[in-house]
Assembly symmetry: C2
């Protein structure tokens, strides 16, 4: 259950600390999407910056990442600042910078995070995992497109796959799929954050039309403890995402991620740009 | 349909610009909650700071506010910085500061926002408003507690009211209610942001037990245009909120806000601390 540091995900998230909260990293080719890295890995990298900060308190509770501009190949800088530390919660501001057209650093990505020390309390799971076939009973699909990051995940769709034909016939926006890292890797908070962004744009499914689209802002709420993650190991997660509203160039979706035992590890929401 | 500047909501959001993006305001007594102002008004105030910035591009698309510490009575400072402006989107970082125990300013609240110029595109409403009685057929309830802000809203619950007895009998976390400002006020993006936080803690409903609870982070996605808001006027909004997971001191909920015509104006999510 130990994390192999030679795994592409760990390599992608490698940061070099210049000072507390000041890091440099390199945009990861193995997770490349169409015009920059997979946004889930960018979110995970910001979370990694928080988690390796020497003043960290607790575990991830919430993470919001706003994609102002795509990362380009090469080095980036991260700033992760614990702006307020309470007894059991800590509030972080996050940003990624890369050199702009004139060489001066420009902000590509902003974010905030909250980490928290959690205590045993009354608990209730109010969003049961849907009844779906087990991952072993479903086929793993080949990457839907020729982008690199899709080869870094094993995906076994239950429903709501990428439309086989773009014929404008779509009538819903619900996807469910089993997923895990490829090659296998024991899950941690960072890979959970990345997987929360794995869903292809709901507008493609809803319209059965492949229009340009990209996440503008994502929020992840972490319900899992370290023990829940350890119990999940390198098993599958069941992800579910459904669009709520598609309006004038932007849609939002709501998503849930359970482990195979049915524990809800994270919930997530995002708002996404689309064209036409 | 003009906004009366003598309305308590407008007074609460009054900011004085010291420089672009640097404002001072006063924590509003008419919206006081138990130990500080109603969090929805705090979120609305941050949004107001964005909207009165001279470099503003477009209308609100998303807003995330993290409550690091409660505001106390008296003056506060807001910083609203447009850290990145694209052709049709603009990314903002937000913070509120108040003097700490030693007089030096400390961060009470962090946030991010995205504003956007929206264009007419294919659109689809995928979260229809639930079939519920009209507001005129439901009774307006008196404020459930002796806190001031509850008197600033008219609320006509459909289902999921505050439990009449705290007997531990709860079995769900769904609330639906019609709401509007009291006194009446034509809705705008700021009051919409505030109303997105109107729901009492889901844990009280789910447990029928009133434990200490407070929002840690809220995100609002705005689907409404200026025209949708104008069409809504001072009519009712139908709000719906449901908890997703209650675990070890924190729960999250997902919420929707429609106008009387059934247009989804905003969706929202929050993660909330609770004790025991």
């Amino acid at each position: 259950m130990t994390t192999d540091s030679s795994h592409p995900f760990d390599k992608a998230l490698q940061l070099h600390a210049k000072a507390p909260g000041q890091y440099t990293g390199v945009a990861p080719a193995p997770y490349w999407n169409m015009v920059g890295p997979f946004g889930g890995v960018t979110a995970a990298t910001l979370l990694r910056a928080v988690l390796q900060h020497p003043e960290l308190l607790g575990d991830p509770l919430s993470l919001t990442v706003n994609y102002g501009g795509g990362l380009v190949a090469g080095e980036f800088q991260i700033q992760a600042v614990p702006v307020r530390t309470n007894r059991s919660t800590q509030h972080w501001t996050l940003s990624i910078l890369q050199p702009g057209p004139d060489g001066a650093p420009v902000v590509t990505t902003t974010g905030t995070a909250v980490t928290a020390v959690r205590r045993d309390t009354w608990s209730a799971a109010d969003t049961p995992a849907p009844e779906v076939p087990r991952p072993g009973d479903l086929a793993a699909i080949p990457p839907a497109f020729g982008v690199e990051w899709l080869s870094r995940y094993e995906m076994r769709p239950v429903t709501g796959t990428i439309p086989p034909v773009w014929d404008g016939s779509g009538d819903h926006s619900l996807s469910q799929l089993w997923m895990r890292d490829a090659p296998l890797r024991a899950i941690d908070f960072c890979s959970l954050a990345a997987m929360a962004d794995i869903f292809f744009p709901r507008v493609w499914l809803r319209r059965a039309r492949q229009v340009p689209a990209g996440t503008v802002s994502i929020t992840v709420y972490f319900h899992a403890s370290q023990a829940d993650l350890a119990a999940t190991g390198d098993g599958y997660l069941l992800g579910q995402a459904r669009g709520q509203e598609f309006r004038n160039g932007f849609f939002d979706h709501s998503a849930q991620l359970w482990n195979e035992a049915g524990t809800l590890l994270a919930t997530s929401h995002q708002i996404v740009y689309y064209k036409e």
